[in-house]
Amino acid sequence: MDDTIIAFVALLRRNGVRVSFAESMDTFRALDLVGLGSRAGVKDVLRATLVKRAVDHPTYDHLFDLYFSGVGEIVKDAESRAMEGLDLDPAEYQRLLEDLARFLEAQGIGTSELTRALLRQDTARLERLLREASQRAGVQRIERTFQEGQFAQGLQQTLGVAEVARELQGISDALGAGDPDPRRRQMGRLVDRRLQDLQEMIRRMVRGELEQHDVGQRDAARMQQLAEKSFYYLSEDEIRRMKDAVTKLAQRLKNALAVKRRSARKGAFDVKDTLRKNLQYGGVPFKIRFDRRKRVKPQIVVLCDVSDSVRNVSRFMLQFVYSLQDLYAKVRSFVFVSDVGEITKLFEENEIHQAIDQAIRGNVINVYAHSDFGRAFRMFHREHLAAITRHTTVIVLGDARNNYNLPHEWVLKEIKQRAKRLIWLNPENRMTWGFGDSEMDRYQPYCDVVEECRNLRQLYRVVDRMVVG
C-alpha cells in the first residue's frame, strides 16, 4: 500500500496539488488508524491529510476515482464481460474456474503468475500485476492520444503478454486434445477469450493514465490561455470562469496592503497621551503611550468606463472591482460613459453577475451615449469629490477615447492633489495611446501610475507593482 500511496501523491503533485513530505507521513499514520477497509474511508483520510485547498477538491476526486478504482474496475469489468460472453452466472462461472484449476493440476501444467491470476480470476493479484507493470513501463508518462498504441505495447512487453499467450495456447490445446467433453469445451472457450480480456485491460489502463494526465494539464493550459487573451476578445463565459483568479488577485492586494499597514504602526512616544492615561496612577508615567497613528484602512475609489467600446473589458474589470469591494469595507465604485453613477450599493446588495449585468446594461447610467471622459469627470467632481481623501487610492479604468470632446484634465489634477494615489489602467495597447481620439497623453501627467492592462497577466503585474510601490 505504501508504494501505492507514494505514487498517488506523485500523481497529485503532477496535477498541481501541493503536498509536502510531512503530509504524506500523516497519511500513513492516519491510514494505520482508519484502515483500508472502506474506499470512502480511505478517500476521506487522503483528502484530510493531503488536500488542503478546497479548490483542489475536484481534481482530487477525479484522480482518486481514476487511480483507486481505475484498475480494480477494469479488472472487474473484464470479469463480467467474460461471464456474459460465456453466458454464465457468477456461481457457475466460479465452478468453471475451479474445474479448470483441477484440470491443470491433474495435467501437471504449470503457469506463470499472470496466467494463473487470469485463469483463477484472482482480482487482487491481477490488479497488483497490472499496476506494477504499468509503473515499470512508465505508462504515467503518456501525454497524447496518439501515444496510446506505443504505451500499450510497452505495457504488454513488461507484463510478458507473449508468454501468457503461449501458455494459454498450450492449455487450450491440452483441453481440446482427444475428444473433449462439453465441460472441457467450455473451459476451452474461457481460456481462449482470456487473452482478449487481458489486451482490453491493458488498453484501458493506458487510456486511464492518459486521462489522469489530462485533468490537471487541461485546466492549467486553459487558464494560461485565458490569462493571455485580451479582455476585448473574452466571452462572457470566459470572464465568469476567471472569477476565482480575479478574487485571488483582489485578496493578494489586500494582504499586501495589510502587511504594509502593520509595519508602519509603532509610532513615536506620545507625551500628552501618556500623561492623560496615567492620571489615574497619580501621574506616575506607568503606561507609556505611543502615537499609534490611527490605523487607516486603505480606501479605494474606482471609476470604470462601461462604454460600448470596452464592454467586455468593463465586465472583467467590474468583476475585479466587485471582489475588491467584497474584501474591503472602504471601496466606492463608480461607472461612467458620459454620465457618472455610483454602483457601490448595487454591488453590495446583489450577486456578482447580476450586479455587473445591471451596471453595464444601463440601469445605472445611460451606456449608449458616446464616451465623454471630460464630462464624466466634471460630473464626478461636482457630485462625488468628497469621496476622495488623502487616504484614497483612485483607480480609473478606461481607454481614454473621448470622441474629441473636451478632456477636462484639470479634474484629474485636482483628484491627484486630494488623493493618496491616482492610477489609470488602460486596456488599449500602449502604442495606440494618444492617436485618434485617445486623450491618454493629456491625462497621463496627472496620474501617479499609468499601466497598459489588456489581460489577466498584465493585471497581475499591475497589482504586483502596486503592492511593492
Binding site: 509536502s20 476521506d44 488542503k52 495589510a258 506607568f286 450577486e351
Partner: protein, 327 residues
C-alpha cells in the same frame, strides 16, 4: 511527556457522541475529528458561512466533556490579546508597596551596588504570574484539564498573527521573557475555522488536517431542523428544506445557511404554519435572506415551487406528506 486525554474509540463513537450533542455528523466529518484526536493535529475547517464550523468545535468539547476556550479572530488581533497581557495597574500598586518597603530591603547594605542588587532580586515578585492576564491561548496551554481550543475565523486575522499562531501550534509552548517557557500540560485539541476571506498559508495548512464542510444534503438538513426546532411539523420541515435547497442553486449574493434555515423554520413554526404558501413565503422570507435583490429573486422562484407543491399535493393527497413535495 504531556498527557493526552482526548480519545474517541472509533469513527462510529464520534458520530454517536456528536448525535448526543445534537449535531448531525456526516461520516467524513467524523473521520477527520477522529484522526485529529488520535494524531493530535489541529483541524482547519473551511466552508461557507453557517454550515456549522463553529458549532463543530463546541460539540467536540461537549462530546469529550472538555472546557471550550475560544479565540475569536479579527483584523488587528495581536499577541497581547491572544496570549497574555501584563496587568499594569496591579503592578503599579505593588511598586507603591515596594517603595514603602524599599527602606527595609536595603537597610544595612554596605554600598550602592549591593543595594541595587537587593532591589533587583525583587523583580521576580514584580514579573510573576500574579500580574499576568492570561488570554485564550495561554489559558488553553496552562489549563490543568484538557481543553478544546477554538480559533474562530482565523481568516479575519492578519498574516503576522497567523505566523505567530503557527509557532504556538507547532510545540504548544510559549515563552514569556520575564517568566521563561510555559509548556502545555495537555495538548489542546485545536479547531481553526475559516470563511475563506483569504487563503491560509501553506505552512499553517501543513500542520492541520483539512476539513471542508459544505451545505448539507436534503436528508441531513431535514434531520437538523427536526433536531433543532422543537414542535416543527414534519411536513413543513420537508417543504422548508426543499425550498432552501432550491434557492441554494440560484446565484444569490448570500446563500442561505443552516442557521438561516433554522431561523426561517422557527419563524414559520411560531406562526403555527403547517404548510408553505405564497403569502407566507413573502412575509417571512426576510429571515432567510438578507439582501433585497436576493429576496426578489427568491420570491419568484419560490412562488413557482409552492404552486407545484400544491398541484402535487392535491393530485396525491394521501402520500403528499411523506414525499419530496416540491420535485
Amino acid at each position: 511527556m504531556v498527557a493526552f486525554a482526548f480519545m474517541f474509540a472509533s469513527i462510529e463513537d464520534v458520530i454517536g457522541r456528536f448525535a448526543a450533542q445534537h449535531y448531525i455528523c456526516h461520516r467524513t466529518i467524523a473521520t477527520v475529528v477522529y484522526l485529529a484526536s488520535r494524531l493530535r493535529k489541529p483541524i482547519l475547517v473551511e466552508g461557507p458561512a453557517g454550515v456549522g464550523k463553529t458549532e463543530l468545535a463546541k460539540v467536540l468539547a461537549g462530546a469529550l466533556d472538555h472546557e471550550l476556550i475560544r479565540l475569536q479572530c479579527y483584523e488587528g488581533l495581536d499577541e497581547s490579546k491572544a496570549l497574555y497581557e501584563w496587568e499594569y495597574a496591579k503592578q503599579l500598586l505593588y511598586t507603591q508597596i515596594l517603595k514603602d518597603k524599599i527602606g527595609e530591603v536595603i537597610a544595612g547594605a554596605p554600598g550602592l551596588k549591593e543595594a541595587v542588587e537587593r532591589v533587583a532580586r525583587q523583580d521576580d515578585v514584580f514579573f510573576s504570574e500574579r500580574f499576568i492576564v492570561p488570554r485564550p491561548l495561554l489559558r488553553a496551554i496552562t489549563s490543568p484539564t484538557p481543553v478544546v481550543l477554538l480559533i474562530d475565523e482565523i481568516d479575519k486575522a492578519d498574516t503576522e498573527f497567523e505566523a505567530f499562531l503557527l509557532e504556538v501550534l507547532s510545540d504548544f509552548q510559549v515563552s514569556v521573557p520575564e517568566l521563561g517557557t510555559i509548556k502545555a500540560k495537555h495538548v489542546p485539541l485545536v479547531v481553526l475555522t475559516s470563511n475563506n476571506a483569504r487563503e491560509m498559508s501553506d505552512a499553517l495548512k501543513r500542520r492541520c488536517l483539512h476539513l471542508y464542510i459544505d451545505f448539507p444534503d436534503k436528508e441531513q438538513e431535514r434531520a437538523i431542523i427536526l433536531l433543532k426546532v422543537p414542535g416543527v411539523a414534519e411536513r413543513l420541515a420537508q417543504e422548508v428544506v426543499d425550498a432552501v435547497q432550491a434557492l441554494r442553486k440560484l446565484d444569490l449574493k448570500k446563500t442561505p445557511s443552516i442557521s438561516e434555515t433554522l431561523d426561517w423554520t422557527r419563524a414559520l413554526t411560531l406562526l403555527n404554519v403547517a404548510t408553505l404558501d405564497a403569502a407566507l413565503v413573502d412575509d417571512t422570507l426576510s429571515t432567510l435572506l438578507k439582501y433585497e435583490g436576493d429576496i426578489r429573486k427568491a420570491q419568484a422562484e419560490l412562488r413557482e415551487h409552492v404552486a407545484k407543491a400544491r398541484a402535487k399535493a392535491s393530485a396525491a393527497p394521501a402520500v403528499a406528506a411523506d414525499k419530496d413535495v416540491l420535485h
